[in-house]
Symmetry: C2
Subunit: 343 residues, 2 copies
DNA sequence: TTGTAAGCGTTATCAC
DNA sequence: GTGATAACGCTTACAA
């Protein structure tokens, strides 16, 4: 009854059992109308009995060179931002019957190069990458057998590629503008190191202050914090300053949380403006506003660009259209309680 | 200079350019010592010039039937629990030079069946699944061409399979025991519907109350809340009860957050015990304790079990060892402030 | 309606 | 050392 064979059944096995040629078995299983209903039924029965399943790898090899998979390369899947982005990519890919191969770079360019190389060797149809650094030569399609590449969250540097970005600059500008409008003259800035997004957010911050004629104080700018604890410390240091900030702008959620900790622990009511929403932010009872956006939408957008490129490649293999650059908007949410509960 | 060819170069192209046979090219690129150093160098140069990259799909087809990929099927990648689990799986897989194909089921069994089927057709080496339901026939290796399957977070039902679980029962029992030890007699329970984990946590909760001789009040048990908002409402309803709970036990983080909202909004100091840690929980200034664990470790554990099974399959294809069942421990973290800041 | 031959890109095997 | 041949599992093209 139960065939406990070690070998995976092939079309040949199915054909043999159904007493037809391999070719007829192939046609029957694909529902080719040129095969008689009777034969088709017999083949189907044989396939079911054997537990036959088409080998998509062999099929792809014969048909062309597409694996029906897209590669997704992120820096850290544990970060909700990237996992939500992955969700968006996966959703769009699934809608097109494609699978997503996810890999982590831990922000290491060397790792990224190896992963991308491996994905190309596996003949993925396309790759979506959150680039780890400014060295991106290995991401140029010319180096990847012309596999389309879409960059997400960070822009191409030194290469041309489609990309989907957030409006980091605009969001930061808007946030800072509001803080200035509220009368703040001394605003602390905290962000993580090295990321392009963080630099853009700092640029937005600076632009507004300069336009408002407010002098930049380097003691109030700190871009070294990767985690909540160090962010809290950095914020604490600023608050110890002789002329402490009356407000903070934080370039990512880790820094926002650290700042909230520092402010709250001192019982202060310093205004905080963060970037990246996080759960329970509204429960903190603070003067807290956040620049927010939809990472899943970013993933969907990047996937759409990739599939558009794939469609185009299929119809006109040689002439590549101009690169696309999508910028997703940010919005602002205010978590300041209507009436302060404490105090 | 830059070859702008549409066709991806093959081993044959490399051989032609290097004036050797395809076979010699193949050997040279693999570093076969039987090929002269001179030839090897020439082949390598030709490969580099062409931008040749080995087709791993074709290679796999010839070599055996392994794709060097493992499938990971989760219910919702946006949930930090699953994305961290995915990170653990990815880390272990990467350590063995394997790729992870991630798919979402959105808790739909039908979707799960299709995904698993597709993964099998793609000849993944193994599959790790967070099963969406109790109908798991499609996960039995016998139906999947003997592809090893490891279940994560939820146990096998009606099939035999390796699995990696959390100590849901033990964690809930410990939490409830502490609440009872603190003198609580009326404890509200809130959890999400239908998940096995939630049922286990409820079982742990019930066991302790029964052992303590405390009557169960159905008005204090609610297992319908999937999100924070409905959890807050459910908690609020319990607090409106004539004989309201003096403490809450929540079976997942959404419910914990909802309960915290309800309690905080009313300015109460009701004790809350949650399951699943979440960021900023320590900033809420509440009597809050949480049963926590390491989802990434769960992913690593499941991956280890899978690879162990794969190794075993390779050495002894026919005799399967007994199924393994790993249970990861939970621990408790207390976020209650040493001295209440408000009040 | 069904079967035969050939080949997708790679490698094991056996010749030279 | 290197090359010719066949085959992995599948499907297109052409025959029967």
């Amino acid at each position: 009854m139960a065939a406990s064979e070690a070998a995976v059944p092939t079309l040949r096995d199915v054909g043999a059992l159904a007493k037809v040629s391999t070719m007829t078995a192939s046609r029957a299983l694909r529902g080719d109308p040129k095969v008689s209903a009777q034969t088709t039924a017999r083949v189907r029965a044989a396939a079911a009995e054997l537990g036959y399943r088409r080998n998509e790898l062999a099929r792809g090899l014969r048909l062309g060179r597409t694996s029906g998979m897209v590669g997704l390369v992120v820096t850290n899947l544990a970060n909700p931002f990237y996992s939500q982005l992955a969700l968006g990519v996966e959703a769009v890919a699934a809608g097109r019957g494609m699978k997503v191969v996810v890999s982590n770079t831990a922000d290491r360019v060397e790792q990224e190069r190896e992963i991308v190389d491996d994905l190309a060797a596996r003949r993925v149809d396309g790759i979506i990458v959150v680039p780890a650094g400014a060295e991106q030569g290995h991401l140029a399609p010319a180096h990847l057998n012309d596999i389309p590449v879409v960059l997400a969250a960070r822009p191409p540097v030194g290469i041309t590629a489609d990309c989907a970005l957030l409006d980091d600059f605009g969001g930061a500008r808007e946030a800072t503008t509001r803080l200035v409008a509220d009368g703040h003259q001394r605003i602390g800035f905290l962000g993580p190191p090295a990321a392009w997004t963080s630099a853009e957010r700092l640029r937005g911050f600076r632009t507004v202050l300069e336009d408002a004629g407010i002098a930049l104080d380097n003691a109030l700018i700190s871009c070294e914090q990767r985690d909540i604890a160090t962010a809290e410390q950095a914020a604490s240091d600023m608050l110890d300053h002789a002329d402490p900030p009356t407000a903070f702008f934080c370039a990512n959620s880790r820094n926002t949380m650290g700042v909230c900790r520092a402010v709250k622990r001192r019982g202060l009511h310093t205004a905080v403006f963060g970037f990246d929403d996080f759960e329970m932010a509204d429960m903190l009872d603070m003067q807290l506003r956040i620049v927010t956006y939809d990472p899943e939408a970013l993933g969907r957008q990047a996937a759409e660009q990739l599939f558009h490129r794939l469609d185009e490649k299929r119809s006109a293999p040689l002439k590549g259209a101009a690169m696309t650059k999508a910028i997703l908007p940010t919005s602002i949410v205010d978590y300041t309680p209507a009436l302060p509960t404490a105090d």
